[in-house]
Amino acid sequence: MIKTDVVIIGAGPTGLFCAHQLGIIGLKCEIVDNLDKIGGQCIELYPDKPIYDIPAVPECTGEELTNNLIKQIKPFKFNFHLNDRVQELTNIDDNWIVKTTSGKKFKTPNVVIAGGVGSFEPRKFPTKSAEKFDGTSVLYSIKDKTIFKDKSVAIFGGGDSALDWAIELSNSSKVSLIHRRDEFRGAPASVKKIKELSEKSIINLFTKYSIKDVKGNGTLEEIEIKSEEGKSKTIKADYVLGFFGLIMQLGPIADWGLNLDKKTIPVNTENFETNKKGIFAIGDICTYPGKLKLILSGFHEGALAARGCFKYARPNEKYRFEFTTASNTIKDRLGVK
């Protein structure tokens, strides 16, 4: 069990700046994010797209913004728990016990939800019959590629993940690659390689097809694919892999007894606390009259939520407002002279 002052859910810009504000006022925090990297939407959705409305930064990319925020909180040496998702929150006395999918446990008086539009999950096949094989023979990521050896593998998608795995697995598996159109968005070199492998009949390439049905008694046996004109084909498959990118889903947050307004959490605008004591929500996931889904609003919300956390983390201390330009205590915390 890790004891801390605050657990932040979400390592996007809002969560990162909230961590900075916690560090400035002398609190400790642990940051959990479902992605394998820091930065949230800025990194996952638009790392290269320029942002023009960060105060005093005329133009920067999502990646640059993330890197600068990481640099800004470096002095505090906070821990990141990536590739992990907060699953459960349980209230014990004045603390929250926070459990993650990987089995980590935190004890903390404060939880700050900076979860954006939810956690990024792989987008799954819309076919109902694919659900019963989900996680066994219908997969959306690969943990152990040796399971595919000498098996028939049907891969869906037109991006780099689909192409790279089709090329890689074609060495030791019977690969079919299925994509909804003739063009691929993957790297040109990979597209060329796929076409070569297809011409040599090393992989079976089906373009302008999508999934129709997944069949098998207990174990997966074959899949049916369809074209828009109504043609259908049956392919033998032991495994089906789908690479359709990620979609954001609210996930377990919906189960924590928080008031919800569609996919957002109502908060007060004094300290961004939710209807549950010690649970705060900031950034795109929170809502209040006049809410703007801007990164700069998330920064403001994080600064105020941090002061809200102070009250529960240090119940016997009085919070003292200080400027970074003047306070020696803050300079010590930042490790500057």
Binding site: G158, S210, E228, F244
Partner: protein, 106 residues
């Protein structure tokens, strides 16, 4: 101004008057039409505003720009009539446009 018809997979219809200069996605979001989430806010990065354009309207719309088809690859059940509604700009010419909201998106 254009009247846009948004049709859910159940057949339920929503008609919204959408101002010129807004996108079909914004028209849906402002009128609380279910199934068009627009998680990324219209930056062509998420495919959660995917719609099927009614057959006779598809060719009348301005063509897809680069990147839209790449994003549509990631949408649920795209077809040759698929568009991202955040990329369809509303004008008087679009009065009467009908779009269908994919079943899985709701």
């Amino acid at each position: 101004m254009a009247k846009i018809k948004y049709i859910e997979h159940t057949g339920k219809e929503h008609v919204a008057e959408v101002q010129n200069g807004l996108t079909v996605m914004e028209g849906a979001v402002q009128n609380d039409i279910p199934g068009i989430d627009a998680d990324c806010g219209g930056s062509m990065s998420c495919a959660t505003c995917h719609v099927y354009v009614k057959e006779d309207w598809y060719d009348k719309l301005p063509k897809k720009e680069m990147g839209e088809d790449d994003m549509l690859d990631q949408a649920y059940e795209p077809t040759s009539k698929s568009r991202l509604s955040c990329q369809i700009m509303v004008s008087d010419d679009l009065d009467g446009l009908s779009v269908y909201i994919p079943e899985k998106q709701v």
